[in-house]
Structures are given as structure tokens and as C-alpha cells.
Symmetry: C2
Subunit: 459 residues, 2 copies
């Protein structure tokens, strides 16, 4: 693969050294594919195969992957769907199913917006399967970030971004204050973009709505302004903007005035080189945390290619880059959960999945309303609640002059037997507690907030 | 975690910059653990929980992780064993089961070598669970190798090492000729060790027996000499030797004159700082390729610590380093196959697993004998077969002056409909074909070799 097309797009100059260097060598895969198509005698397959009856008592005469008969008791899937290697970039059918799912999640009207749906299908890549959303974030960050380069993130963010970006890659986080008086701090973001844009050949931004730890989702107005800001900044600094969109909590949105779908779609629609990369997975979307199935999907731009063939080649080159990353780090994503995802969509259907999940979303929605109304009753100048409309958490800021978050959490736990996660990063102006109401019974919420209130009075 | 003990061992100075920098921050995990022990009201858990009846029609009153009822049809495991997050380093019970398995695989006599078993238990770490052997290799190489540093590998090796080491990490491979007239080329290895040892503060070597692509396993004599060479080199160059032992094909050994267990055990027994790291997994050992469950286990040295407490702290520090790597790259390994591994060992037992697998090993053993005897009948100076006694493959060298491996494989495929994997790295003196007899019916082997013979005559 010579990456002729990728090199012609603005994507290429955003790649890190590893990103430029990595690829999946044809080697074994080229010959294995040819053998499959051309050979009568195949000596390329690196898994043990045999006639089932030769290794299983009472087995069939079928030529099968050799397996231990004991494992078949633990799953109702076919043995082939459990023991064999899936393809490096993921089972093609699962990838295509997820692409359909992403199109569905755009909420484009199937009757009235046919053209938009057709374009979306055409210009987004077929999702590459990673081992969970974390792995998607890791692979993407590695694709773009060299050591010491900067990525823009809000001060309120998932702590594991710091592990991936700073500790592992050795890159840096350009942090901006997330909120300005209960609104998205667009000025702060703008400053960060211009700051990074003057020293780097690309600007990388990671967005996560609903946000962990705050539960924040931009209002429709804020979202429009955000998209405009990104568009105008790109035009102004004339360097590509890569927007990593961490959609882990995508479906969990509880109010009508906020963005009801991933911001990926609005960014994808821009003609400018604001390039969105969607990172999502079955983890929270299908409530299968332990499945470790995530997806990376890139929104390509219409003006990057002239012919359909160019587009297809570009997609293959992008696939090959990610397959190179996956081969070098995990080989492939586990088979069982890829099969399970496929079967859920094929055998149960999108409608049924959404219906079953709706019950869970409703439970969380009720807790969301309850905890916010309980918190609203606390009239204490020492705290403020960050705007929140979705996700699994909310965030209570504590006045750092009066209360340190760590000390507060310790006191709350010792005296009131209430466990929360304190986040205390004073250098980034973060001092507060994250409450995971996703795992608290609604009937316990008043008591939980009451105890927090009592503890507050003691500081 | 201050890594006080690790810094006192020779391990620490072998770490890469990332290896020195990475750790798993206490943060969330510290507070979540405390909440679990101390709280009545827990708001730390980032997964959705509820009463089963509230999200499943006909569900129980149990407080459960919220799940889609449709998924329960596809597995006989408990819902908790499928949907929830496993711990970052792996389910503790699965890790302990695998440690017992490693002790079993030492073949120490349970009656006569009790002391050795006790020591093994004491001085090896509890395996950390990675997402497959590839991921174990990736994590370990990243722990030790900075860009441009060298790791020693034979010229005949699994191609994916190059992806991990060169393309991803940006480190380099110091290659040595694997064989010298059908024997392990210890002189070549020795030269490589001294060469690397003069320019680096550590020497990293990756060994893989049975080897991919050759099927080579050292004879007992060779193995003894190899261990001695490593020991003496360490004493001589006075720098730690890290030996990554890729045991992917560990149980597949077909002759009695060769090393019948992993070389990890002999290296672990050395007092010198020849530090073995065992990389194995369920992939081939339990024939679950798609499971993506691998393990990293380090053999620690008795003279590194004074008290039991030091040893335990050191183990915790090592765990934390790997947990930092795992958190930053994959978060954790999938739950289903960790549970499956646990159940196989707990419910079926080691004896039963070995018995079921024995049938597969016997099938491969028969093919091994057949293919070698068929090849022995070819009396053609243009080829030579590398010594092989195990694994899934063997390797036929082609005289590079007369036949290029790629052209040969192409001809073989086009004219004789036989698929093999050519490996042509002339700069490393490799030119031949890998035959994966693990997936060829024994009755087809004579035909396969005959066609190769016919094709040879045409070059």
C-alpha cells in the first residue's frame, strides 16, 4: 500500500510519526487471501483445524477449528463464532451493522433527508473495531500526537485521557476552563485553538458529550456556536482541525433543549477541514461494559477526492493504517462480543434494542430529575452544580477557599457513609465531587443529597 | 504509589521512558474501593445499576447491572460475568488460576520438588491479563524499549514483532542468524548480546519456542547451553538481561529430545539478573484464538529483597505499572473469555482440559511426523528444512541464488494450487516458505509435498 490518496488529503499532515510510519504489511494476509481464492491445498492458516470427530467424541465429519469440547457448554453461539480469529479491523458484518447504526443515530429523516443519508453513508468510513472506547481513543491519539504535541481538552474531563495522552504518549494537554457562568466557555476554547494553532501544523480537540464527569451536553444554541467557532477557526488558522468525538454516553440525554445526537454529524457536514472522528462502542450504548468492543469512524470531506474510486482507495488506506495499529497492539478484538453485537442487530433488530434500552434510559432520566431537584433545594454558596443534561454523572463544585474536594469526600465517607469521587486539580481550577447517579436507587437520592448538605455545613 | 522497591531492583533501570513514567493513579479506584468498604450510599460506580424488574419484564427484585434482556439468550454464563467491567489487571480469580497453571506447566514433581514449587509460587508475579499474547508482547516491549533502542531477535521470527517493535515503538531489531548448520546459533546470539550490551544499559532478547515460523524447539543440550550463555553474558557485561519468552505455542512439542517446557523456568532459576518474562495465553493453549486473553508473568529474583513484605510491595508496584499500561491502552480485557477460562479450570479441571487438548496435540503430532517424513524424501539441494519439533509450522529454506521465495509461492499457487506463506528477507538471509501443517489434513500432506517438489524442479 503506497498511501497515495491519504497523502493528498489534509489528514496526512496531521499524523504523528507513528501514524505516518505504521501500516499493515500485506505479507501473510495477501498470501492467505490468495490461497483462499486460488488454492486446493492451503498451508497458510495458522490455527489448528481438523475433522471434528477426530478431536471430539461423537463429533461430525466437518472440517472445523480444533476446540475443547468443554467450552461449547458456556455459549449458545456457534463454535466458529467463539474460537476463531476475527479479522484485524473487526468482523466486516459487525462493522457494517455499526455503520448502519451510526446512520440511524444521525436522526436524519428517512423520508425527507434521503440525500443526507446517502451522503453520510458515502463519506464516513466503515467503523474499525477496537477493543473498547478506551482503545479507540488510544489508537486515535497515537495516530495524531507526537510526544510534546498538544491536544485541547476541557479542565473537566475523564481522568483516563491524561493517562493515555500524557503518561503513555508523552504528549500534552492544553486545558481550557469548560464553563463560563454555566455556559460552554467558547472564548476559552477559541484561545486554546489559536494558541495551539500557531505552534502546530494541526489542532487536535477532544470533545465528550454527555461529558464525564459533569453530564454536560451543549444546548442547541451552544452547539451551533461551537460548530461555528470550529469552522471559523479552521478558516482563520488554515490548518486542519481534528475533532475526536468521544461518544461513549451518546444515547443518554435527558432534556429537550440540548443537542440530541452526537456533534459528529454537524462537524461532518462542514466543508472545511474540521475533521471529526467518532469514537463509540457497545460499552454504554448496549450496556456491555465488559465486552470491549469500540469503533473508530472518520467523517471524510467531499472536496478531498475527484472520483468514487479515489474515495474507495482512500478508505482502504485509512483502514490499513488502523489495521496496522491494531495488529501491533492487540492483533484483533475478541470474537464473542463482536458476534453478540451482530446477532443482537440481525436477530433482534434495532427497534427491539432501542425499546429494551429505553427502560434503562428512563430509569436514569428519573434519577437525573430527582438528583437535580434535590440539589436545587440546597441553597449553599459553597457549592455550584455544573450544567448537566445527560450521561451517568453530575459534578458538584466546591469553593476551594473553604473546602478541599479530597477532604470533603473523606469526611462524607467517614461520618455520613456516602461514597463519591472527589476531583481536585487546583492548577486547572477543578475542585469538586462527581456523583454517579447511574448506580444509585432513586429512593436513596434524597438521603444522599441530604447527607452531602449536612457535611457541607461542617466545613 | 512511590515505586520505592522497584527502584531498588535491576528491573527499574531496564524500563523505557514510558515504563518509568506510567502508573495507575489511585484516584477513582482508591475512592471506589473505600466506598465499597465504608459507605452505605455509594455514588462512585460508573455503570448503570437498577432493580432487575425495573428494566426487564418479569425480572427479579435484585439490584443488578442494567442490561438488555436480549443478550442473555446467547450465553449460559451469569449476566454479571458478561456485561460488567472486569478489574483492570484482570479478574483476580482468573489470574490466580493461571498462576497455578504456570506452576503446573513447570513439570516440577509435586512430591519430590515441593521446595521448587513453593519458590516458584513465591517468586513469580500473579499474571496480569492482557488482551491476547500480542498485547502482552506490545505492553512488555513498551515497558522496556525506547525509540531507537535495540532488542535481539532471530532472523526467523513472527513478522508481527517487527510491527510492534519497529513500526509502532520506533525501536530496532538486532537480528542474528537463528541456525548454524541445523543447530541453534549460540555464537551469533552471543555476538548480538555483547554488541547491544556495550551500547545499552540493558539487553532485551525475545525468545519464542516452539518458534513461528520454523517450529524449532531447542534440544535439551542446546537449551542448557543457551541458559548458560545468557547467564555468563550477564555476569560478563554486568547489565540486566530481560528475556521476553513468547510461549504462544508452549504445549505443542512433538519429540522427546527437546525442551519439554518453557525456557522461562530455567531462566527463573538463575540467580543472576537474567530476568524472564513469560508471555502466554489461551489463544493456542486452550485453542481459543478469538478470546484475546493473554498473560504477563515476571520471574523475580530472590536476592532483590530482604523481607516478605518487600516482595509483596514489589509485586504490587509491578502490578500497578502494568495496570497503568492497560488502563491507558485498553482499559481492561473482555469479561466473557476471562470468565470462560475460570469456569473451564474450576468446573472441568486441569486434568480434563489437558485430556481434551491431548487429542488435538496428537493430531498435530501425526501431521508433524508425516510432513517431515515426506519432506525428507525430497532430495533436492535447492532446499533445506529448518530443525523443527513443535508448534504449528515448519520452514523450508530455498536457495536464494536459484529461487526467490515470493516467486516460488506465486508459481506454486498458480500452477499447483498450493498456498504457502513465503518469507523473503534477503538482507537477513531469510528466503523460504512457511507451511502451516496445523490446518492441513494428514491425508493431503503427501500431495502437498509432492506438488512442492514438482514446482521446485521448475526453478
Amino acid at each position: 500500500m503506497n498511501f497515495k490518496y491519504i497523502q493528498k488529503t489534509p489528514l496526512y499532515k496531521t499524523f504523528s510519526d507513528i501514524g505516518k510510519r505504521i501500516f499493515l504489511p500485506e505479507g501473510i494476509f495477501y498470501w492467505a487471501r490468495r490461497a483462499k481464492n486460488e488454492a486446493e491445498l492451503i498451508g497458510t492458516i495458522g490455527s489448528a483445524y481438523g475433522f471434528e470427530k477426530d478431536f471430539i467424541d461423537g463429533g461430525s465429519s466437518d472440517w472445523m477449528p480444533c476446540y475443547l469440547k468443554e467450552i461449547s457448554e458456556y455459549s449458545n453461539l456457534m463454535i466458529q463464532d467463539i474460537v476463531t480469529y476475527p479479522s484485524i479491523g473487526g468482523l466486516l458484518e459487525t462493522r457494517e451493522i455499526w455503520k448502519e447504526w451510526i446512520i440511524k443515530k444521525s436522526f436524519y429523516n428517512e423520508e425527507k433527508e434521503k440525500e443526507k443519508i446517502k451522503n453520510l453513508k458515502r463519506y464516513i468510513t466503515t467503523p474499525i473495531i477496537t477493543t473498547g472506547v478506551t482503545n479507540g481513543i488510544f489508537q486515535s491519539c497515537t495516530l495524531f500526537l507526537n510526544p510534546d504535541e498538544k491536544v485541547i481538552l476541557p479542565n473537566k474531563r475523564w481522568g483516563n485521557y491524561d493517562n493515555i495522552i500524557c503518561k503513555f504518549i508523552g504528549a500534552r494537554i492544553k486545558s481550557f476552563e469548560f464553563f463560563e457562568e454555566q455556559n460552554l466557555n467558547l472564548d476559552g476554547l477559541k484561545d486554546a485553538i489559536y494558541d495551539v494553532g500557531t505552534t502546530q501544523e494541526k489542532v487536535l480537540i477532544l470533545l465528550n458529550f454527555p461529558n464525564n464527569p459533569t453530564g454536560y451536553v451543549p444546548t442547541k444554541e451552544e452547539s451551533k456556536n461551537l460548530v461555528n467557532l470550529l469552522k471559523e477557526s479552521q478558516v482563520s488558522i488554515k490548518k486542519p482541525l481534528i475533532i475526536l468525538v468521544d461518544d461513549a454516553y451518546e444515547p443518554y440525554v435527558y432534556t429537550d433543549d440540548v443537542l440530541s445526537r452526537s456533534i459528529f454529524y454537524d462537524l461532518y457536514e462542514l466543508e472545511e477541514d474540521v475533521i471529526p472522528i467518532k469514537l463509540d462502542g457497545i460499552t454504554k450504548e448496549l450496556l456491555i461494559y465488559g465486552g470491549r468492543v469500540g469503533f473508530i469512524t472518520i467523517g471524510l470531506k467531499e472536496n478531498w477526492f475527484e472520483t468514487d474510486e479515489d474515495l474507495e482507495t482512500l478508505k482502504k488506506e485509512i483502514d490499513n493504517k488502523f489495521e496496522g495499529f491494531i495488529r501491533a497492539t492487540i492483533s484483533n478484538c475478541n470474537h464473542f462480543y463482536q458476534s453478540l453485537t451482530q446477532k443482537l442487530f440481525n436477530e433482534k433488530g434495532i427497534h427491539q434494542i432501542i425499546k429494551s434500552r429505553e427502560k434503562v434510559i428512563n430509569i436514569l432520566h428519573d434519577r437525573y430529575k430527582k438528583i437535580n431537584s434535590e440539589l436545587a433545594r440546597i441553597n449553599n454558596p459553597k457549592i455550584s452544580i455544573d450544567p448537566n443534561s445527560g450521561g451517568f454523572f453530575l459534578f458538584v463544585n466546591l469553593d476551594p477557599d473553604k473546602i478541599k474536594a479530597g477532604e470533603f469526600a473523606d469526611h462524607l465517607l467517614k461520618k455520613y457513609k456516602v461514597g463519591v469521587i472527589p476531583i481536585e486539580k487546583l492548577d486547572e481550577n477543578v475542585n469538586g465531587i462527581r456523583i454517579a447517579y447511574c448506580s444509585v436507587d432513586i429512593n436513596e437520592i434524597p438521603k444522599l443529597i441530604e447527607r452531602i448538605n449536612l457535611a457541607l455545613d461542617e466545613f
